[in-house]
């Protein structure tokens, strides 16, 4: 009992002891005061908050050894132990900044990112979906940022003086072997996948991570949406078809389905078509996505899609001066499953498998050609998060590809085929030397069973923060890519094509304003060359080509100056020359225009609950070869101009949310000429006749009504 009284008494006396206090000041590493820092003793409610000058006074009520803690958002917690008998007079504390994704320097050389994760991204997923000139196509949207050349008759991305095949697309880290609908010559194609399937998109115009290979110029990395949270259903009626989508959710899983049927019959009647369709083009596109959360942090993503694309026309073969029946039937299956999880706090594991199957049937009069591409991609990646300053990742991937083409002519059958097993490994480290300086270095090695050679490509990039809102970054890398199927099928003993990139970038970003300037130099070697087009002789194909490409790009985006308005301006200058294919000399290739300017203007009008977008694009003349003149690629087309617009009206209809969307391209109705086709024989005056290559549909408007249930 006496013991208890003693305790009680000592408790009372301790609270009678005169209050002590600890005074101090909280500063950051740059000696600027930290306002609002939480200053307290460990295990106690008591504490205080630093004032506008960073000063604080903390009352100390208990005796003995105490542990002082100071915390503030964006800084590491500061700890300091002292004894109540010897409280320091004036404590000056410098808090160390946490290396934070938002503030630390980010390597931006050659990269455009879209998504809503970070504010620092250049474009949002919505921007990609709503850019007028893109007409709902991912590649079209990326055509409005610097680094791309407008090639109207292709619809694919041509990056920095490179060919379209030099850009590869990945979904959740896995290769999409056939990202575009199969194409007939001079009829522009588009991407198979809607931007609405993705929450993040990265467009690299060069110098990209060692994780990606087999692309000479550029990669597009798409990240599909995660676990869906809400049941949704939508129905779209379009002037070109109809679509349906459904999302079903459970606690840990979700399933989404989309289905679209596109038929341009109505459009061809309304707007006419430069092509002689036997039956109107039809397209079926369906996707199925399944997401399942595993444990605390694991996520399984499964994606499957099927597309059917049919065209049937009378083809006016200008070079041979004949009329032919031309039918394309393209069927594509693409499926992948990926898994991401944290093994523990340090290790993150990602793995996935993709399957791609594409069969194209092309009938040209008596000739029937059937091309099958079969690909499997398997990939594992481990990331060691270490600490905020140093992370590294390593991975291994295997890509198996089988190509088979049978050409059936009335007299004979030709079968061309090959198979390739590609093994790739990569290692890359991210070293955040300080919040101002970051370095990324790594390498990738590849072995191809077909090429029979292993190759190594180093990658290096870095960034340095030059001010509160500005930074400089650079990137370097070497890249390899196997020759295209059309050449490997004839000669499987070709070598890889090669390129190397040097990129220097300056970026200024303040709130919603962003300015970027980038210069680059790219060199090519071992580009594929051939003696005559479509040669069936293996010895006609070589790796004797080479080339170079350099340029300057500017980007300005401003979402602040005008209310509810956001606009961006992109300018690209490119100077590229190459000797490849059957070029007799090194010259600027036919797809490369020196100057490309694009203006995108978006405005939300709340009073009308409508959203408007206008785009203007201009490209300088492109070279083409005129056989009537001496020299090679000596002629130039006219300038390309395009004004497109779209409007989206959010409304309520049939007791549900509705969106009405109108897209109009080439508002002025201009005829843009992309180049010329020449007759293969001279006419009676000794001249090769020519025909302009133009868009088959000069101008069109698409109206969409979407109802959400």
């Amino acid at each position: 009992m006496r013991f208890l009284v003693f305790i009680l008494l000592s408790l009372i006396t301790s609270s009678l002891v005169a209050q002590l206090s600890l005074k101090g000041r909280v500063l950051d590493m740059k000696h600027k005061p930290v306002i609002g820092a939480n200053v307290y003793l460990k295990g106690s409610y008591e504490g205080t908050t630093s004032d506008l000058e960073g000063y604080f006074e903390l009352l100390i009520n208990s005796k003995g050894i105490q542990e002082l803690k100071i915390s503030s958002i964006g800084f590491h917690v500061f700890s300091y132990s002292f004894h109540s008998d010897s409280i320091p007079d004036e404590l000056k504390v410098h808090l160390k900044e946490k290396i934070n994704e938002l503030e630390s320097v980010v390597i931006t050389a050659g990269t455009f990112e879209a998504g809503d994760k970070k504010q620092s991204m250049v474009l949002s997923a919505f921007d990609v979906a709503s850019t007028a000139s893109a007409q709902g196509d991912i590649y079209g949207a990326f055509n409005s940022v610097p680094g791309t050349q407008k090639v109207g008759e292709e619809g694919r991305l041509f990056v920095r003086g490179g060919e379209s095949y030099e850009t590869k697309t990945f979904m959740d880290g896995l290769l999409i072997a056939n990202p575009f609908y199969s194409q007939l010559a001079n009829i522009p194609t588009r991407g198979r996948f809607s931007p609405l399937l993705f929450e993040g998109m990265l467009f690299s115009t060069g110098g990209y991570s060692a994780e990606y290979g087999q692309a000479l110029s550029s990669i597009i990395a798409l990240k599909t949406t995660g676990l869906q949270l809400e049941d949704k259903r939508s129905l779209s009626l379009m002037s070109v078809g109809a679509g349906f989508s459904e999302v079903k959710t459970w606690r840990r899983s979700s399933v989404s389905f989309t289905g679209d049927y596109i038929n341009s019959a109505f459009h061809n009647k309304m707007f006419g078509s430069g092509l002689d369709w036997q039956s109107d083009p039809k397209l079926i596109n369906s996707t199925l996505m399944f997401r399942h959360k595993v444990g605390e942090s694991g996520l399984v993503k499964t994606f499957a899609s099927f597309q059917l694309n049919q065209m049937d026309m009378r083809y006016h073969n200008f070079s041979e001066q004949v009329e032919q029946n031309l039918i394309l039937d393209d069927r594509n299956v693409y499926a992948n499953t990926s898994f991401t999880d944290m093994l523990n706090e340090k290790w993150m594991f990602q793995g996935g498998i993709a399957y791609a199957y594409n069969v194209d049937r092309l009938d040209l009069d008596e000739m029937a050609m059937r091309t099958t591409n079969n690909g499997q991609h398997l990939k594992f990646k481990a990331t060691h998060l270490g600490n905020a300053r140093f992370k590294w990742k390593a991975g291994v991937e295997w890509y198996a590809h089988h190509y088979n083409q049978s050409i059936n002519l009335p007299s004979e059958q030709v079968i061309l085929q090959y198979g390739n097993n590609q093994l790739g490994t990569f290692v890359e480290a991210d070293w955040q030397i300080s919040p101002k300086l970051a370095l990324r270095f790594g390498g990738r090695s590849e072995y191809s069973s077909l090429i029979g050679q292993s190759q190594f490509s180093p990658r290096l990039s870095g960034a340095f923060k030059t001010g509160q809102n500005s930074q400089v970054s650079f990137a370097y890398g070497t890249f390899f890519q196997n020759p295209q199927e059309d050449y490997l099928k004839v000669n499987p003993n070709l070598q890889t094509e090669r390129s190397s990139h040097y990129i220097l970038n300056y970026q200024y970003k303040h709130e919603n304003k962003l300015f970027r300037v980038e210069v680059y130099n790219k060199t090519y070697s071992q580009l594929l060359t051939f003696d005559t087009p479509f040669s069936m002789k293996p010895e006609a194909y070589h790796n004797n080509g080479y080339g170079s490409s350099q340029g300057l790009e500017l980007f300005w985006r401003d979402g602040d100056t005008f209310k509810n308005t956001d606009y961006w301006i992109s300018y690209s200058y490119n100077d590229s020359k190459r000797l490849y294919r059957d070029y007799p000399v090194e010259t600027t290739p036919a797809y490369a225009s020196a100057h490309n300017l694009s203006l995108v203007w978006k405005r939300f009008v709340p009073a009308l609950s409508s959203f408007f977008c206008v785009t203007y694009a201009v490209a300088s003349p492109r070279p083409y070869h005129d056989p009537n003149l001496s020299g090679y690629m000596q002629s130039r087309t006219n300038f390309y101009h395009d004004i497109s617009l779209n409007a989206t009206y959010l409304t309520h209809m049939l007791n549900t949310e509705a969106v009405i969307h109108l897209m109009v391209n080439n508002v002025t109705g201009r005829t843009n000429i992309y180049g010329y086709e020449f007759s293969s024989t001279q006419n009676k005056n000794g001249v090769y006749d020519r025909k302009a290559i133009v868009s088959p549909i000069r101008q069109q408007a698409v109206l969409v009504l979407m109802l959400m249930f």
Binding site: M1, N38, L52, I73, S120
Partner: protein, 218 residues
């Protein structure tokens, strides 16, 4: 004798812990009052700091964590810079997540979650609107499922509807009945304790009054 001694110790310890509980409640009440008087970033930060200190000691109670996050969400509404706002909201989210581990079935935490998302939207309304509005609605549905009489869930729903364009099924007329319903729920609402969330009645009354005025003007 030994028995008496042990009992005394038992009594003393329980008295002592009662006393500790009292300190906890007192400190919480004090901090809640301070928060209710807050209006600037610095005030909210001071409140958040006070709640954060309590949360670190009382790691098995959701209320201090709730108020820490709530202070940060209120603070975020005063910040104009998007990156700064996101950082503060990240901190708020951390505390909501921690609180949900302590009390997974607490309706108020879902309400708070729904209250956080509109602030995320303000950083990039066009890009984030759809996604976060969906998430906010989902959180509200869960809050109502866990406690159909939580008046704050109805109040937030009313504000969401009011701020949505009329063309999309929102607008003031649609919001008024919801404000009325929220107010009715507030009349019958009795918090579990003095430190449980109990905000919203006044703002609901105010919002309803304003809405009625505005409709009368038209």
């Amino acid at each position: 004798m030994m028995k008496v001694f042990l009992i005394s110790i038992g009594v003393f310890i329980s008295l002592f812990s009662r006393a500790n509980d009292d300190v906890y409640l007192q400190k919480m009440q004090q901090s809640i009052e301070q928060l209710n008087r807050s209006s600037t970033i610095v005030h909210y930060q001071t409140s958040a700091n006070a709640f954060e200190r309590i949360s670190r000691v009382e790691s098995d109670k959701w209320q201090p964590m709730y108020y820490t996050a709530y202070s940060y969400v209120l603070m975020s509404f005063q910040i104009s810079d998007g990156d700064e706002k996101d950082k503060v909201l990240d901190r708020a989210q951390e505390w909501i997540d921690t609180a949900q581990k302590v009390a997974p079935d607490e309706s108020e935490l879902y309400v708070l979650q729904a209250f956080l998302y509109p602030s995320r939207i303000m950083v990039d309304p066009v890009g984030r609107g759809m996604k976060y509005m969906g998430m906010a609605n989902k959180a509200l549905a869960q809050a109502k499922q866990l406690n159909p009489d939580n008046p704050r869930a109805y109040y937030l729903e009313a504000t969401f509807i009011q701020n949505m364009p009329a063309a999309m099924g929102g607008g003031i007329e649609k919001a008024v009945p919801l404000y009325k319903l929220a107010l009715e729920k507030f009349q019958h609402f009795v918090p579990d304790s003095v430190i449980d969330p109990n905000w919203g009645k006044q703002v609901t009354q105010e919002a309803l009054r304003k809405a009625n005025d505005e409709m009368a003007m038209e």
